[in-house]
Symmetry: C2
Subunit: 304 residues, 2 copies
């Protein structure tokens, strides 16, 4: 079903839940994660749900499914500048999933959690018609970066090239084997940008992870910060993509491809990341091309 | 699928996840919830997953589904003595669920969270073949009660009569209408014993909520505490049940019925709750009847 329908339902949800606690800096629908002030630190909570038909390509191993369930949640934490601490999961097992398969999912979960010194502290297991893995992550941030802090005069940066996951998915669908696909790890074992997120959160005015598409993440920052974002096409790092596809296709993948686990942030200045545009007074997201200024659509396409 | 298969998979899971953090007092598979020491308090985390075919009777309203998704998680918190603070959800929507239905689920979630002064701080929405509601709850406890603390000489107490939810389910299946079923609220809008749990945790040696059955909760306490539990049939509060079913059936429902949201705890003494037995040296769970001592099976039956 459409991503737009999902956004519509998220919008409905954000109107129903009351903000009641002063320590909740960001809650349902406000940002990547819930941000809760506790003493001089912040407890960061997030949840993300994956299911077989929409999120796991046929050739994905159960170990990679477990990895992915942690990665999508940790990427939300990364987008807020949080260090992952605790992870819980719910797995719905369907007929045909044996103990060996199940163990591999859990190992994928455990290994990625361990890599970032987080601990798997709970889980629930059910049986149903489709394989689901829902994750819940709790992290700690010293200085959380929200989507709402971008200011006129800031520049816009990304931590890496987007579009690789989408391109890999296309290549997989076109019949290529996993081992023939150059950026296959961005599709099967994406790495959440945890350390980058923590470092960048120290000075970024706004930050978020890119899961649906760069375009959608930028629209979120623009809307929540009340600013205009203008990208410069000439800054775009497209060479890795144009080695494999046409320039036009590379541009499309870069802006609208989903599934990458990079971060996008705004800051007056940054030694880290790739500068792709700037923040101005106004609203909306635009791209400055040789041919003139164009609007960037609010769309992405990550699920299959 | 069988509850036993679920326990088997939970056992596998508990062997895979490493304990690495000193502040994690109880983790995956150890107790009702994860218990994490933070300063002089404890952060309590839990997750529970409901899905339509197994957990929602046909006549359950969407508002009640939302209520239930919060209640199952808050009951885990109650069983540890925690005050609920934050709640997150993942909802998988299927074809045929419209906005009105969805809004009612969310209102059920919001209202029960609000009742215990907890805040709904996040959520994720997906589309699939079956309606799923996964909940994550975070709470705070001053003195968490684990399943592992029961000591020889303690007495065993419950906060209320178990078996009502199962009986109501049976009556529903036998063709009775909702309004004809006396304990229907225990099936459709069970109330987690939050305030009781917090008060009892101040002095209980062990505590847990009763979701699968009284028998299973007692077996968990017995195994994790390394003690024998001996129930006395003469103490059992069965009159509410025997007004509706035979004595034998009432006894069966009381011990093995699932879906009640009561607490069971052990303590040297308690003004609260109904005393049903005692803790002794040894292992296993037994019941002392007029006719002699019998073992209590490790079984429950809550899902339909």
């Amino acid at each position: 079903m459409s991503r737009m329908k999902e956004f519509r339902f998220i919008e409905i949800a954000s109107r129903i839940f009351e903000r009641r606690k002063r320590e909740v800096i960001a809650g349902a629908g406000d940002d990547d994660c819930a941000v809760i002030k506790i003493g001089d630190q912040y407890l960061i909570l997030t949840t993300d749900n994956l299911h077989e038909k929409a999120d796991f390509p046929e050739s994905m191993s159960p170990y990679e499914m477990g990895h992915m369930a942690v990665a999508v949640n940790f990427s939300d934490l990364a987008g807020t500048g949080a260090k992952p601490e605790y992870f819980l999961f719910d797995i719905t097992i369907r007929e045909g999933i044996d103990e060996g398969f199940f163990v591999q999912i859990l190992k994928g979960i455990e290994d990625l959690a361990k890599k970032y010194d987080a601990e798997v502290v709970g889980g629930d297991i059910d049986f149903g018609d489709e394989l689901y893995i829902t994750g819940f992550a709790a992290g700690i941030a010293r200085k959380p970066a929200l989507q709402s802090g971008a200011r006129t005069g800031d520049r816009v940066y990304i931590t890496g090239v987007t579009g690789k996951a989408e391109l890999s998915l296309e290549q997989l669908f076109s019949g290529k084997k996993r081992e023939e696909i150059p950026f296959i790890s961005s599709l099967f074992t994406p790495e959440p940008k945890i350390w980058e997120g923590i470092e960048i959160s120290e000075y970024a005015s706004a930050m978020t992870d890119i899961s649906d598409s760069l375009a959608i993440s930028l629209h979120n920052i623009s809307r929540k910060s009340g600013v205009k974002i203008v990208l410069k096409e000439e800054y775009f790092p497209l060479t890795e993509l144009t080695e494999l596809v046409s320039y036009g296709r590379a541009l499309e993948l870069f802006l609208y491809g989903g599934g990458d686990f990079e971060l996008v942030f705004t800051s007056e200045e940054s030694d880290r990341g790739i500068m792709i545009g700037e923040v101005m007074d106004g609203s909306g997201v635009f791209i400055e091309k040789r041919s003139g200024i164009e609007e960037v659509d609010f769309r992405g396409y990550s699920h299959f």
